[in-house]
């Protein structure tokens, strides 16, 4: 960096007033709070960019055959001077953030990337080119080509014919047009070899949401660069329609979020559909972006909830640039009702904030549409599960004072929702799903202590009473078995449009669904129990069936054991099988349940 011509005043450090912090904690704060977070992330990106440019001064190999880092920087400077918004578009582009993080990591940690370092570093050159194009400059700059593709962030992708691998091309702009010139091929926008980035504008009740559907940018993923996966026009049209409908629902039902969401969510990365589910993800390095699986055309409300969910993650990710809510303990030690694996404290804080937003959406939607059974169920489910998680960690020693204050503020708004009336069937199935998930988590990750397990097995074999059982065991982050949470999917089918009919039609298409599951979710507990028992006679180790049996039983010791300490029931049954005298699982569970504290 130049050291002469120092500025008269130095910048201050980013800060956040306590009242803004408190309002963000409860999902409020308005546009000013989101802009504060955006500005903070903008500074983070500029700092990383400045660090990478500095590095190239002493390590010229990072740019390889590309134009120098200084040339790219100077082009950015020219773009800013000609049209400040052109630079801002590039700095605010979500994947500028993930690129800066990824490339810094490669260099700082000496990691091998997906390609040569200069290819990854050269995303900077494509950012400069795109900024200069937005600014209407005349320029030329050499950029990387990865498997014949040049992506110009926020603009689109050129498909060259260079023979694959890692090569270079020149982006040349003059008189308001640009071309991408490889060694053997040339692409001009408007031709079939150019794929423009799709952008949509949605308007509902005067509220505008501008979204890019980014299937091109190499840094749109979560961890490392990925190649473009261009959606067909029909798929993009489906996304456009559903996003528009989801936006309408957010504007109608959650106006406070609708005011701020467009400032924090600007890009959607489409992923292939997952049957009966809508998984989504985001990274704190890509402020403004959410990765979402293709939604079901019949469930725009579920997509709306996913947008709110990811917006909350984005908001919290921005806040965490400013404030430490917990220490750096990343031990995967805690139960999260939304994951199969144990999570670190930070993951739970993130999840609580995200599902607080999800609860807010379903609460409002359910109030406006009380006949919507899915909305009632989702509200009942997420408010209870999220609250339980909040209660479990709000006094965790790894929280900072700010973290405790954040959760406490959130609880002041969230707590009263727990007492709001919901349809009895929604509450009942929310409870069932909670029990199901928790039992599954224990089977996956809790290992009973060998000594007490053997003692329980011995007592059974001797015909004695079961020794007192206190839920415990050793946490193991590696899962003991793999199975789908089919009952969660089936419950949502049941509460969807024409649910009962659809359940009978599609239940076998739900991954991992068992005959007993269909009957249980269909409300036929006795038939479900018989189906689960028959399945356990064939394979007494089958995790989903063990839990299913527990769910199908009336309240009592067997149900308590199968849902409270399923790992112990299974472990004892394994020992008794090895000894050649296995009882019926339900009978053993009932005996253990009598001794369960």
């Amino acid at each position: 960096m130049h050291t002469k011509d120092r500025l008269a005043s130095d910048p201050d450090l980013h800060s956040i007033p306590w009242d803004t912090f408190d309002r963000l904690a409860v999902g409020s704060g308005g546009l000013s709070a989101v802009r504060l977070l955006r500005n903070t992330d903008r500074s983070r990106r500029l700092l990383l960019l400045a660090g990478l440019v500095d590095l190239a001064k002493t390590a010229e190999q990072v740019t390889g055959p590309l134009s120098s880092a200084e040339e790219a920087w100077d082009l950015l400077v020219r773009a800013q001077e000609a049209e400040p918004d052109a630079l801002e578009r590039m700095i605010a582009h979500p994947y500028t953030g993930s690129w800066a993080g990824y490339t810094t990591r490669l260099i700082e940690q000496g990691l091998a990337g997906e390609g040569p370092l200069w290819v990854h570093y050269g995303y900077f050159h494509t950012l400069a080119a795109a900024a200069a194009i937005h600014a209407g400059l005349d320029f030329s700059i050499r950029v990387p080509v990865w498997n014949d593709t040049v992506v110009l962030p926020t603009l689109g992708a050129a498909r060259l014919e260079e023979g694959g691998g890692f090569t270079t091309a020149e982006v040349h702009a003059a008189a308001g047009t640009f071309t991408i010139n490889g060694e053997r091929s040339r692409v001009v926008p408007g031709t079939p070899a150019w794929s423009p980035l799709r952008t949509f504008r949605f308007e509902a009740a005067g509220r505008i949401l501008d979204l890019r559907l980014d299937d091109l940018d190499p840094h749109r993923g979560l961890y490392h660069p990925i190649p473009p996966e261009r959606l067909a026009e029909t798929e993009a049209a489906s996304w456009r329609d559903l996003l528009g409908e989801a936006w309408r629902l957010i504007v109608e039902h959650l106006p406070e979020y609708a005011e701020v969401l467009p400032s924090g969510l600007t890009s959607i990365v489409p992923q292939p559909a997952v049957p009966f589910r809508l998984p989504s993800a985001s990274t704190g390095e890509a402020f403004g972006s959410a990765v979402i699986a293709a939604p079901d055309a019949e469930e725009p409300a579920t997509l709306a909830a996913a947008l709110v969910h990811e917006f909350q993650h984005i908001r919290l990710g921005g806040l965490l640039e400013l404030v430490r809510l917990h220490d750096d303990d990343r031990t995967e030690r805690l139960y999260a009702p939304w994951r199969e694996d144990p999570r670190p404290l930070g993951g739970l804080v993130h999840g609580i904030y995200a599902f607080f937003g999800v609860s807010a959406f379903w609460r409002a939607f359910s109030r406006a549409c009380p006949e919507d059974r899915l909305a009632a169920f989702e509200f009942a489910h997420w408010r209870a599960q999220t609250w339980q998680t909040l209660e479990a960690i709000r006094d965790d020693a790894a929280l900072t004072g700010e973290g405790r204050r954040f959760l406490s503020e959130l609880a002041t708004v969230f707590g009263p929702w727990q007492a709001e009336p919901v349809a009895p069937e929604a509450a009942q199935w929310a409870k069932t799903l909670a029990e199901d998930h928790y039992a599954g988590w224990r089977l996956r990750h809790v290992r009973p202590e060998p000594g007490p397990t053997a003692e329980v097995a011995r007592a059974w074999a001797q015909g004695e009473r079961c020794p007192q059982v206190v839920p415990g065991g050793r946490l193991d982050t590696e899962s003991d078995g793999e199975w789908a949470n089919a009952r969660a999917d089936l419950i949502r089918v049941r509460f969807g449009r024409d649910g009962e009919t659809k359940l009978s039609q599609v239940w076998s298409e739900v991954p991992g669904a068992l005959e007993g599951d269909r009957r249980l979710i269909g409300g036929l507990a006795d038939e479900a129990r018989a189906a689960y028992q028959a399945a356990l006679d064939r394979d007494p180790d089958e995790a989903a069936t063990l839990i299913g049996l527990g769910l199908s039983l009336p309240a009592g010791p067997a149900r308590r054991a199968l849902l409270g300490v399923p790992e112990l029931v299974r472990a004892v049954h394994r020992l008794l099988r090895d000894a050649g005298t296995p009882p019926a699982v339900g009978e053993l569970a009932g005996w253990i349940g009598e001794a369960l504290v």
């Binding site: 130049h2 910048p11 450090l13 903070t40 500074s43 400013l322 994951r339």
Partner: protein, 63 residues
Amino acid sequence: MRSPDGNGQPGIKSELLDLSGFSLSELRKLDPVMLSRSIRHAAERTAHIPVTASGSGGAKRVD
């Protein structure tokens, strides 16, 4: 870190330089020591990728 902000309002101060009032050209004229410190802070924070995802990856039986 707790401290007042520029308006004297109580708040939390981060370790990130606020560059919102500076052009790219001006960025290069900042105090190099202060700038390097803030760059280092930002770079160190990239060590952990803050990803959040609903659901989890595949799991394998271990017993």
